[in-house]
Symmetry: C2
Subunit: 195 residues, 2 copies
Amino acid sequence: MKLLQEKIVQEGKVLSENVLKVDSFLNHQIDPVLMQAIGNEFAARYKDAGITKILTIESSGIAPSMFAGIILGVPIVFARKRKSLTLSDNLFTSKVHSFTKNETNDISVSKDFLVDGDTVLIIDDFLANGQAVLGLLDIVEQANAITSGVGIVIEKGFQTGGSIIRERGIRVDSLANIKSLANGKVEFFEEDPTA
Amino acid sequence: MKLLQEKIVQEGKVLSENVLKVDSFLNHQIDPVLMQAIGNEFAARYKDAGITKILTIESSGIAPSMFAGIILGVPIVFARKRKSLTLSDNLFTSKVHSFTKNETNDISVSKDFLVDGDTVLIIDDFLANGQAVLGLLDIVEQANAITSGVGIVIEKGFQTGGSIIRERGIRVDSLANIKSLANGKVEFFEEDPTA
């Protein structure tokens, strides 16, 4: 997605060969116009997939999911990163390790909002080691729901998450797929020809 | 806001005289159509206020902020509830106590995204004791920015937060203001005549 790639080049900060910071439009400050374009793109790609629910994870997955939800006409469910005291025990849970934060969180989704028969589009901001998406896939399986595909805003294609998930036969749509962050420069894989 | 009040009556769960759970459309599963209506309402109320930025707090403030941001044509900044290792120390911080979770978090906003000269609309999902909003107001003050007003999806008007903030001379727009949760029943204050 050209608009997104341009924004990454203009505003992304390459902090190391592994770390790209996009706090100015995605992870802390949010550009709603870009989020709308991203949501529209996910919705266009999955418009015939019979999606009944979008599943994402707090916090940065919520914004790109909102506009996809409006177009597809389905609710968004965001997995929580730990139990809240006002939630009951009626939960699907999975463990997610964050290499960035060097911590493992339980993620959880209420059994009320993901059910047998749901066809799910998973959306997240980043795909790197794939831990968050694997946790969400685990939760979809626990619910006996079906994952139609995974929509990712920015994939770090030089890390292993994308391969692990695609090798399981799961469709992954990354709107920007980064080949390298070497020498402080963002290099992308060529755009998916269907994009 | 009638649509919101109806949704609260239909789907809200009164867990006690103080606790209303709206996990089916706001705090866990999100209804994007309702969020769009809410965002449009906030935008309409603040369209002439010269807003340059929306400030909210992760996670449940993000969804209602997105659609207001699109209409007002301004970015959304969400305060984080603790430091992330990929954030630098270039932060405004404040302390927020959650009575629901019985814990105190640091909230933080990067100095890059809130600056002297900004006119801020604060948006949050709930206003109860006012702790989160007070923390956000503190951060806006630290930035030498101006708070134009506070947009709240659901105020628990029988708790003290709304009074504390209004007594400081700050405009508060609550789209649903709850008078009582006694006897398992949601009772609203009469709608703001300007709504």
